[in-house]
């Protein structure tokens, strides 16, 4: 190894896998281990956890030995925090409005917020898209497929 020690993405990758493996093995050791002939519920979790931790070390280790430069960062070049936030808000709003409001507000809010995540989107274009998808979704899922999900809670539509 010549040159400065640089943090490569593969160290994070290996570290993450190591962490997952150790976590699984520690959690798994809380269950009954048993023996080879009569395995308990904890046997495979512990074994797999140890294997995973070992793989994590290998991943980080091969990155250490490799001379190939890795210039990619963990975050993409232009992180889309707002876009990611909007995408993740979609399911959250779907859960909240679905539980307390019903299918129509759930679909509308989910599509509307997700659509806002795009750079070129406006409130108007997102609202039009959301309205269109809501109509389509209600017809398909409520009237054609009949999934048990009230259109608007409290109203008998």
């Amino acid at each position: 190894m010549t040159g400065r020690f640089k943090l490569k993405r593969d160290y994070y990758a290996g570290g993450l896998i190591l962490l997952l493996g150790v976590g699984a093995a520690v959690t798994g050791s809380g269950y009954k281990f048993g023996s080879l002939a009569k395995m308990g519920p904890g046997f495979l979790p512990v074994v797999l956890g140890v294997v995973l931790a070992f793989l994590g070390i290998l991943i980080a280790g091969t990155a250490l030995g490799s001379s190939e430069p890795d210039d990619k960062k963990f975050l993409p070049e232009n992180p889309q925090w707002f876009g990611w936030f909007c995408i993740l808000c979609g399911p959250v709003l779907f859960i909240i409005f679905g539980t307390f409001g019903g299918m129509i507000p759930a679909i509308f809010s989910c599509v509307f917020v997700c659509a806002l995540g795009d750079k070129t989107a406006t409130y108007k274009s997102s609202a039009i898209l959301a309205a269109g998808i809501t109509v389509f979704g209600v017809v398909l899922f409520h009237y054609l497929l009949g999934i048990p999900f009230p259109l608007l809670r409290g109203f008998n539509l």
Partner: protein
């Protein structure tokens, strides 16, 4: 043997041509063709969204429809590559190399026509392969005990993780991670809840739909949002009359199609090497044996015919190990296997005899579906081309809605929607660290069965690990595992020439803002 195959196939056509089944087969290939054309949508996400909607259906139409989505998407995927130079569907990425130059020369229609012919030839051979090979594999597999099933799964898991793209070590790590996710829930033998962290909803395990849609839906949208460039539609003008290739083109494309078909059907038999690898290998082979290799990359019709034929023959052949042994070769097959399990059908060698209607109906529906696709694609090409121009900013919010409601509809449970979101974030982090999520799904689907058979075989042998080596078939599978790992170490140390060549071809494929998940 041939006569029984023909009687069985006859019976299969009887099943597949029932109006009800025929309708769902048609619906499947239509939806598949549609998502195949749309850049940024793939068969994995589509099948996961459709899966909960099939719960109320009979298993036969459900499986026919879901499979139809898979091979239907392959017909659509080529359109994107040839007309727009967008490799948004991995198996068709290599088709860009010669397909787009042809389009620029005004021969895009011919390329599409050749693609459809190649697709049909490839698929036909793949199906024929399945008719004869699957029952043969079953006759072998019926002799398997738990030890053999266990080591066979190990081969499937190892091949699936090491032969796919990307670092093999990371692939194996993802497989193990998938196995661990498969453990979540109550233990089958003692009922002890494992990795549930006190959450009651997790006692039944992680929902396969939530896993697939999180990894291949939400993570994918997070990856592509605001990263997609405007689609260049300048060359994408094709009429029906352009699609009939000239005699000279047909003659040029004939042998490449046949060779592509063979390579594809071989790749289908090796677990872990799906259509994507088949298309790259066949393109490289065709370029190598061509008398005029310099024409490749500048619009050689062979460069379209060969990879397309091998993709389609490999797609149909993919069903062989899944249906006959219960070992899926890639993500889509893992999902289909999950669909079978949800419909109460135990996958494995007994499937063909116990559920002959599914197996032979499926094969017959492949023929019908492929013919339908050829008919669909020629007159409707104008519509498909129009669909290409739908911008991503309309696509992904609509897809997010389908993800949410699809996951909800699986159990009528809002918890699953949140679970999908969390899995999506984890999937995106893994993606940024160059982990490929496909092996996770493989490990997840095979995990519970692997554990069951592993425990059972050691129970039978009274804890003697040597049982896996002493039984000849099991020892043979273990030897393959060792070979797979050995080959990876060799490649890592020596970096052989073939791989360098394949890498070079891969590097020529235009970069896509859509990640590889779509395939």
């Amino acid at each position: 043997m041939i006569s029984t195959a023909i009687t069985d196939l006859w019976y299969g056509f009887g099943v597949a041509l029932e109006p009800h089944n025929l309708m769902y087969c048609f619906l499947g290939v239509l939806v598949g063709n549609l998502v195949g054309v749309l850049p940024g949508m793939g068969p994995v996400a589509t099948i996961s969204i459709l899966l909960p909607l099939t719960f109320g259906m009979q298993p036969v139409p459900a499986i026919l429809m879901l499979s139809g989505v898979y091979y239907g998407a392959q017909y659509g995927g080529a359109i994107c590559s040839i007309l727009l130079n967008l490799p948004c569907h991995p198996p068709h990425a290599v088709t860009c190399l010669d397909g787009f130059p042809l389009t620029k020369q005004g021969k895009g229609g011919t390329a599409l026509g050749i693609t459809i012919i190649a697709a049909f030839i490839g698929a036909s051979f793949g199906i024929t392969e399945m008719i004869f090979l699957a029952p043969f594999l079953v006759s072998v597999a019926l002799k398997f005990g738990p030890a053999e099933v266990c080591t066979l799964m190990l081969v499937g898991l190892l091949a699936g993780s090491t032969l796919a793209k990307g670092s093999p070590l990371k692939g194996i790590a993802m497989t193990v991670f998938g196995l661990l996710i498969g453990i979540v829930g109550s233990d089958i033998e003692t009922g002890q809840p494992r990795f549930t962290f006190g959450i009651t909803e997790l006692f039944d395990g992680v929902e396969i739909i939530a896993l697939a849609l999180g990894m291949f839906g939400i993570a994918e949208f997070m990856n592509s949002i605001n990263q997609t460039e405007a689609v260049d539609m300048r060359y994408a003008k094709v009429g029906i009359s352009d699609m009939f290739p000239s005699k000279a083109d047909l003659k040029l494309a004939f042998w490449p199609m046949i060779r592509g078909t063979f390579i594809g059907s071989l790749c289908a038999l090796i677990p872990g090497t799906g259509p994507t690898i088949a298309s790259f290998v066949s393109y490289a082979t065709e370029k190598k044996i061509s008398k005029t290799p310099e024409r490749f990359g500048r619009g050689a019709i062979e460069g379209v015919a060969c990879p397309e034929a091998s993709t389609h023959s490999s797609v149909q052949g993919d069903f062989i190990p899944t249906m006959s042994l219960g070992i899926p070769g890639d993500t889509v097959m893992a999902l289909l296997l999950g669909a079978l399990i949800i419909h109460g059908i135990v996958p494995g060698p007994q499937l063909i005899s116990q559920h002959a209607d599914i197996f032979w109906g499926l094969i017959a529906s492949f023929w019908i579906g492929n013919i339908l696709l050829v008919i669909l694609n020629v007159p409707m090409i104008g519509l498909w081309v129009k669909l290409l121009s739908i911008p991503y900013r309309y696509l992904y919010p609509s897809a997010m809605f389908f993800v949410c409601i699809g996951v909800y509809a699986a159990n009528n449970d809002m918890f699953q929607v949140g679970e999908t979101m969390v899995i999506g974030v984890v999937g995106y982090v893994l993606l940024r660290l160059d982990f490929h999520p496909a092996p996770i799904l493989l490990g997840f689907v095979l995990g519970p069965r692997f554990e069951e058979n592993f425990r059972r075989s050691l129970l039978i042998s009274r804890g003697d690990l040597l049982t896996f080596v002493e039984r000849p078939i099991s020892a043979f599978f273990l030897a393959i595992c060792v070979l797979l790992i050995g080959a990876q170490i060799y490649v890592w140390l020596r970096k052989p020439k073939i791989l360098v060549e394949e890498k070079a071809i891969e590097a020529q494929v235009p970069a896509s803002s859509y990640s590889e998940l779509a395939g």
